[in-house]
Symmetry: C2
Subunit: 653 residues, 2 copies
Amino acid sequence: MDKPPDATILDPEEGFLTQSRMPRSAPPRSWRTWLIGRPLPSADAPHQTIGKMVGLAVFAGDALSSVAYAPQETLVVLALAGTAAFGYAFPIAIAVTLLLTIVTISYQQTIHAYPGGGGAYIVARDNLGELPAQVAGVALLIDYILLAAVAVSSGAAQIVSAFPLLLPYRVMVAVVMLILIMLANLRGVKEAGAVFVLPTYFFLATAFLVVVLGFIRLFMGNLGTVVDPPPIELIHAAQPLTLFLILKAFASGTTALTGVECISNGVTAFKEPRSHNAAITLIWMSVILGILFLGITYLLGIIGAVPSETETVISQLARTVTGNRGLIYLSVVAGTTIILVLATNTAFAGFPRLAAIQAGDGFLPRQLTFRGSRLVYSRGIVALAIVASLLVFVFQASVTALIPLWAIGVFLGFTLSQLGMAHRWWKIGHLAKGVEVQERGSTLRYEPAWEAKLIVNGLGAVTTALVTVIFALAKFRDGAWIIVLLLPLIVIALFAIHHHYRELAQDLSLEKYGESPRSQRHRVLVSLAGVHRGSLNALDYALSLSDDVTAIHISIDHAQRVELEEQWKLWGRGVRLVVVESPYRTFIEPFLNYVNEICDILQPGERLTIVVPQFVPKHWWHNLLHTQTAFLLRFMLLNQRGIVITEVPYQAG
Amino acid sequence: MDKPPDATILDPEEGFLTQSRMPRSAPPRSWRTWLIGRPLPSADAPHQTIGKMVGLAVFAGDALSSVAYAPQETLVVLALAGTAAFGYAFPIAIAVTLLLTIVTISYQQTIHAYPGGGGAYIVARDNLGELPAQVAGVALLIDYILLAAVAVSSGAAQIVSAFPLLLPYRVMVAVVMLILIMLANLRGVKEAGAVFVLPTYFFLATAFLVVVLGFIRLFMGNLGTVVDPPPIELIHAAQPLTLFLILKAFASGTTALTGVECISNGVTAFKEPRSHNAAITLIWMSVILGILFLGITYLLGIIGAVPSETETVISQLARTVTGNRGLIYLSVVAGTTIILVLATNTAFAGFPRLAAIQAGDGFLPRQLTFRGSRLVYSRGIVALAIVASLLVFVFQASVTALIPLWAIGVFLGFTLSQLGMAHRWWKIGHLAKGVEVQERGSTLRYEPAWEAKLIVNGLGAVTTALVTVIFALAKFRDGAWIIVLLLPLIVIALFAIHHHYRELAQDLSLEKYGESPRSQRHRVLVSLAGVHRGSLNALDYALSLSDDVTAIHISIDHAQRVELEEQWKLWGRGVRLVVVESPYRTFIEPFLNYVNEICDILQPGERLTIVVPQFVPKHWWHNLLHTQTAFLLRFMLLNQRGIVITEVPYQAG
C-alpha cells in the first residue's frame, strides 16, 4: 500500500495553524473500499494508462463483437427478397469494409491531430462550432447508452439460451451484468482492462480459428454446406430486390462500424506516445474487424447459411467448419457470448470521458468532471449504468427492439466528425505556408496533400450522412423515431445548461465590481417559540453579531404568549420582543409578512440576519417529532436579497 | 364571509415597527380553499360543536352499521356445527346485548366523570397509569384504522355487487371513498356531520321498517321462511357444538359493540351541556343498536336465514319480510351499504382526537396537536387516510381478511377502560366523606353507592377481558397474530417518543441555568471555492461579524490554487488565506479535519462561525448543476458544539 502524501498548508500569516496534526488523507470508507478498491491520490493519475494490447481489449470490444450480428443483420434484410438475394451479401460486405477503411483513415488523422482525445465531439467543436459539436456529443452519448443496453441484453440472451431455467430472469441477468461491469470500471481503467484482456483474446482466437479452418477446408474442397439448416422465416410475400432494399441491407451491415470511434475518444488513456499507440491500436482493430467480417460473410455464402431466430449464422458456420458440435464449436459460441458482454465495457470506457469533456465545456453538469476516489469519472459511470438499466427494463432486454434506436447516433457522429475534418483540411489548405494557427487543442499548419485528405474525409462525410438518413428512414417505425425525437430535445437541454453556466459566470464576474461599501448596520431578528436554553443560546449568538437585536414571537396560543412575555422579562436580557398574532394558527406566513415589512424599511448597506434556534436531537429520527421551521424559513427566504438566515444549533444532552 | 380579526403587535419599546401595514391574515391558498373550504380563525373554535341529532350521525355510524355483519358473523361460526346450532344465535344475541348494556352503563359514568373526553385512554391514564393508558390508546388507534379499512372495503364490496363492472377496481373504489371521507372531515366536524345526517337516518328508517314489518307479519302469522335460500356452505365436517364454539360465536357477535366508545372520546365535540348531550346520545345509540340487533337476530331464526357469501342475511330478511325484491328491499340494501361507508366517518372523528390527546401527553409527535386551517386535527385525519389506504391495498379490500385483526383492539380498550373505572370507584369508596381530591381532569368525591358501580365495572372488565382473550385465540391464525405482535411494538415506540420529549424538556429547562458568560471572541471561517462576487459577498458578511476572519480553500486542482492565490492578493481585503491540499479530490473530509483542529484550540467562551457562500439560482432545477457543499457541511457539523454555519446567499441575476 502506498503511503498517501502529507497534506500541506500554505499560511501567509505566521503563528496561525500552519501544521496539520491529523493526517488529511481520504477516510477509508470500508464498503466502498471493498467494492471498488482503496482511494488513489491525484498524483497517481499519469500512471493509470494502458498499452496497445490492453487498449485493444478495453476499447475494441464493441467493434469486434459486431461480427456476431452485422453479417446476420445483412442477411435478414436480404431474406426479404428470397434466398437468391443472399449473393449480394459479400459485395455489401466489401462496401462496408470500404466504409470501415475510410472511417479508419479519417480517425487516424483525427487521433494525430487531437492527441488530447475527444473524437467526433472535439473535431466538430473545433471545426464546425457549438451546435454541431453538441449534436455529435449527444449522438455519441446516446450511442454509448444503447451499446451498453444492447450488448448486455444480447449477452443475457446467450446466457439464457444456454441455461433456459434463467429465462424468466433475463432482465435481471442483464442488469446484474451491467452492475458488475460498472463496478469493474469504478475500480479504474487499468484493472478494468486487465479483467477484459483474456476474454477478448479468447474470442479473437476462436473467431480466427473458424475463419482459417473454413478457408483451409474450402481450398481442400471439403467444406460442404450447412447440414440441417434452420428453416428460413418467410415474410408474407417476397419483396422485389430494389436498390432501396440493398441500401437497407448495407445499412444493417454498417452496424459492424459501431465502436470504431471509441479509441479516438480515449486517446488519453494510452501510454505515451499516446497518439501513436492509439493509432496503431485503431489500425489493428480495423484490420481484424475487416478480415473477420469479410471472411465470415464470404464463408456464410459458401455454406448456404440461413439467418434465423433459432440459430445464429455464426453457430451455423462454426458447426459446418468443424463438422460437429464439439469443443471448438462450443468455444466459438462461448467466445461470441463473452465478447458481446464485454462490448459493454467500451461504453463504460467512452461515455464518462465524453460526458466529462462536455461538462468541462459547460454543456453538462460540472459534477461529471470530478474524478472519483479511484481516479475515474465515477458519476458518469454510474449515470450510464442507471440509464442503460432503465432501457433494459423498458425494452425487456430485447435486442430486436433496441437495435433500431442504435446506429443513428453512431453515423451522425461519424458524419459530423468527418465533416469537421474536411473543414479542417480546407482551412489548412488556405493557410499561407509557414504560418501556424493555434486552435484550442490543435495546431493548424499548411500541409501539401490537403486536397487528397479533404476528398477522403469529404467522401466519408457524404457516405456516412447517407447511411444516417437511410438508417433513420428504414428503421423509423421500428424505433428510430424515438431518437429522431429525443436527440434535438437533449441538445436543447444541453444549451439550457450552458446558458445557465454562462449567466452564472457573468453574475459572479469581478469585472465592473467596485469595492462595495462596508455594511454600516446589522439588524438581527431572533425567532422565539418559547423561552428555554435553546432560544437563550440563540439570543446570545444574536447579541454577539449586533446591538440591534429584536426577538419575534408568532402567537398561536394566548396562554403561551402570556407565559412567554412573563419569562422574557426575566431572561430576555433587555432585548425588544415583538409578538405577532396568528389567527389562522400558521407560523410561516405571519413571520414572512413581518420580515417583508422590515425589509421595506431597511436602509441601503444595512444587513438583516434572522437567527433561528435549532434543536439537534441525538438521533436523526427524532427530527420527525419536531416541526422543521428553520428549514422552511430558509427555503421561503432564499430569493430575498440582503437576508441571511442563521440556524444556531442546540445539541441535546 | 367573516372578516378575519386584525393582527396585533405588542411592542415594549417605542418607535419600532408597531403597526402592521399588511393584513396578517392567512393567505387564501386557492386549491386548498377549494378542497376543504376557507381557513377558520381560532376564535371560531367554540362554535364548531354539534347537537344530539347530528352527534348520533357522526359518532354512531360505526356501532349501528355493525347490525349488518354481527348477526351474520355469529351464524357463520354456528354453521360449523350444522344448522341445528342456529338456535343458539338468539341467546348469544341476548348475551351480547347484556354486554352492550354493561358497557353503555360504564361509559355513561365515564362521560359524566370525564367531560373533557378521551374514553378508555383518559380513564386508563388517570386511574391505571402510563403503561395501561398507552396500551389502551394504541389499541383504540389500531381499532380506528381497521374500522376505516373494513368499512370502506365492505362498502366497496356492496357497490361492486351492485355494479359488477367495477369488480377489477374494487381496491380503487375503496380508496376513493376513503379520500372523499377524508376531505369531508378536513372541512370540519360540523359540515362533516351535516353530510352524514341524512344517510344515517335513512338507514335507521329502513332498518326499523324491516324489523317492525317482520314482527307485524309474525304476529299476523304470515311471515313464513326464506324462499329459495342460498346453499349453506359446508365445512369439510361438522364440528361438535362445544362451549368453545359457542364462545367463539359470541365473540363474533360482539363485533356489534365496536364503536360504542367513540362518543365518550368525542364529548368535547358536543354542544353544552356536553356530558349530558353525549350521554343521552350514547343511550339512544345503544337502545337503537340493541333493538335492531335482537330483533334482526330473532327474525333471522324465525325465517331460517342461512349465512352465505352470495347473499347477506340482511338481504334474506328484507326480501322475506317484504315478500319480494321491490322498492323497500332495495332501500334496505342501499341503506345498509351507505351506513357501512359512513361508519368510516366514526374513525375519522375519533382517531385524530385521540391522537391529539396522546400527542399532548408527549407519546406521539406533537404535530398531531396542531389544528389545521379548518380547526380540525388535519394531520391525524390525513395519517389515518394514508394508513387505512395501505391496509386496503395490502389486504386487497377483503373484509374477511381484515375482520380478525379488528376486535382485539376494541375489547382491550373496553377492558382497560372498565378496569380504570373500577379502580376509580375503589379509590372513591376509600375517601373520607366530604374530602375532594383533584385528579387531572376529574374530581374525586365520596359517593355512597360506589360498591354497586364497582361491581358493574368489574363485571364489565372481566367479561370484556375474556372476550379479548377468546378473540385473540380464536382468530390468532386468521390474522389476530399481527395485532398481538404489533401492539407491544407500537407501545414501545410511543414510550421512546415520550422519553425523547422528556429528555428534551430537561435539556432546555432553565432550572440551574446560570447567566452564561458573554462570548469574548468570535472566530469566522469563510469557505472559498473561487474568487468571485458570491465569495466576496460572503467575505463582506464575515467581516461584519468579527475581525478574526480566515478564508479556507480546499485545493484539488493546482492551477486553480495558483490562480486563486493571485486573485486573493487583489481582492482578499487582507484576510488570511489557508489552503489545504486534498490529495484524494474530496472537499468535505479535509474541511472537516481543519475545522476539528480549530475546535481543539478554541478558548472557552470563544465561538466559531463558518460562512459558506451559497449561489441561489433562478430556477430550482439549476441546483442539480451545482454541488450542494453547504448543505453537506451543515449536516456533518450539526453535532459539533459551539459551531454555527451560516450560508450567505448570492442571488442570480
